[in-house]
Symmetry: C2
DNA sequence: ACGATATTGAGAATCTTTCTCATATATAGT
DNA sequence: ACTATATATGAGAAAGATTCTCAATATCGT
């Protein structure tokens, strides 16, 4: 999934924040690091734990919103309606998700180039038959993960 | 989108509830009717308005949960994390969604059979390369809707 | 180091959704 | 139709996630 190194991403995040005149402070670096370590979108609570509760929840939420605005991460919502955060695609690469209907965990999955091309065609076809100007697509494969299959 | 009539759906909902020994009361009938009228998944607040506030929010939420458990509707969450409800696919037919990034509205879109078949292949391919046992898929085409394009 | 500006953290506030419980409604038996 | 029993409803309280507020801190440029 990672086409670029952790340090590389850190560098790019720093630059993006600089462009927006936003300081790359300790808490923000920690948060970015936690995001880089993920194998799929995580909840604020998960990130909070991951960070050993070093970053208070209110600050963490604010940083995640800030990252959102700066285009550094993306926010989705899981089946329970809880927000999940992950690095934006320009940092992590375009990919999709495997969602476990049992435990709710979400795992990244990157498609082969030709498969992704097929998908792009399909999405274009869908949008063409509508009033929409398509800008992207999102695919979740729903199922049961390895650990939940006993 | 509707391959079956409103009355037909009402009939099927009634039967499904009967199987679960759940009464099909006035409020529940109103709620089902509101769901049938939709062109895409709606929030509880939207349904509440749609129903002229005849059904109190707490009752509406309870009915929607109940329908969920009986497999009559499906709950997703929009970009703001707010729950959106729509009839389940065995009532409405399998379909996907066009999501407007501006106003947040969600519109149903049904794919041609051969396109859907291609998709099924792709989804199978994705799952095969993982530990997941795939049971379904969800595709959102993101873009800007007609009314939001000025 | 100093002053100006941006950031942080704790808790309050907000918003959606769920829960509680007293009351009302529907169902089944007589 | 009447009664008894189970089920459903509605108003408000409660919960849980996220955002907001504001006084205290940290950061940056000089
Ligand atoms: Mn991901
Ligand atoms: Mn739909
Ligand atoms: Zn699982
Ligand atoms: Zn729109």
């Amino acid at each position: 999934m990672t086409t670029v190194s952790r340090a590389d991403i850190d560098e790019r995040v720093a630059q993006r924040l600089a462009e927006h005149d936003i300081r790359y402070t300790v808490g923000r670096k920690l948060t970015a690091r936690a995001l880089v370590a993920l194998a799929g979108p995580a909840t604020a609570a998960q990130l909070h734990d991951e960070l050993g509760r070093e970053v208070p929840l209110s600050s963490l939420y604010r940083t995640l919103s800030l990252f959102d605005e700066a285009g550094i991460n993306e926010r989705t919502h899981d089946a329970d309606g809880v927000a999940r955060y992950e690095l934006a695609e320009w940092l992590l690469g375009h990919h999709h998700h495997l969602v476990c209907n049992k435990c709710g965990e979400v795992e990244d999955v990157e498609l082969a180039t030709e498969v992704e091309a097929q998908l792009a065609d399909i999405v274009r076809a869908i949008a063409d038959g509508s009033e929409y100007h398509a800008t992207g697509h999102r695919i979740d494969v729903e199922g049961v993960c390895g650990s939940c299959r006993d």
